[in-house]
Amino acid sequence: MKIADLYYYEDMISGDLIKEARLRAGMTQVELGLLTGNAQSVIARWERDEVSPSLETVREVIRACGLELTFFISKFDDSNTALIDDNLRLSAAERFESMMERVRFQERREQLNSNTRV
């Protein structure tokens, strides 16, 4: 087992948020590191989800990018999870075919509706 694996958390999102904010600000990891007093390697490890910074740190880093991390608490909804997981099991080509099946179905329905109106 690699050392990095010890730090792995399930469904970590802080790395995504930091990377998203940095790229939106058009900064490199080095530039963000200089702004926040962190080495580039620290930023890289956060972004790779190898290390999880605290929520307060994530907020500060995002502020350094000129953005604000806002919060709201809402009811947990996992109704899409099964659908998403099913999609993720497919290849891009299979997802595309499934998408086109829905499109063709919708088009046939529109055609039928339009014929009925005439």
Binding site: D16, L23, T81, A93, F96, E107
Partner: protein, 177 residues
Amino acid sequence: MSNFVPYRPDEILEVLERHKVKYIVIGGLAAELRGSPYATRDVDVTPERTQENFKKLANALRELEAKLRVVDMPEPLEITLDEKSFEQGTTWTFVTKHGHIDIALLPDGTKGYEDFRRSATREKITEKVTINVAALADVIRSKEAAGREKDRAVLPILRQVLERSKKKEREDRGYER
């Protein structure tokens, strides 16, 4: 008169590929190809911003019989497209014989083609068509920056897709505890 607009993204993208246009599929279609359950009805792409590429793009759009869609105008406009056309704006919306295509030279929150290219991957979508698809994290970044109501509505699901796909990647690599 029928307002029916077909939606054949594979036909649109096949033409772009055949003309060797350098572009990346972004937006809702990229999100769908990455696993999003939200359906879209247009093709969004960001092309490389060079004169040579704009020329290829203009040729491809001519073959697709592209007409310009303009807000508040009931009918699309027929325009003459060449490589110079794309110097006059950063966002272009067209209707073609195979459906809608939106072209964004600088999608919100990004630096355009080069920015998306870093994490994009080549994906085969049909036997005949293989395309460059933006990473979901980059699609999310752009939609978040755009801040439009329709984008904000899908963001929670897109973030969920991103989390689930990272979880699946870890499981596939045998990292999951």
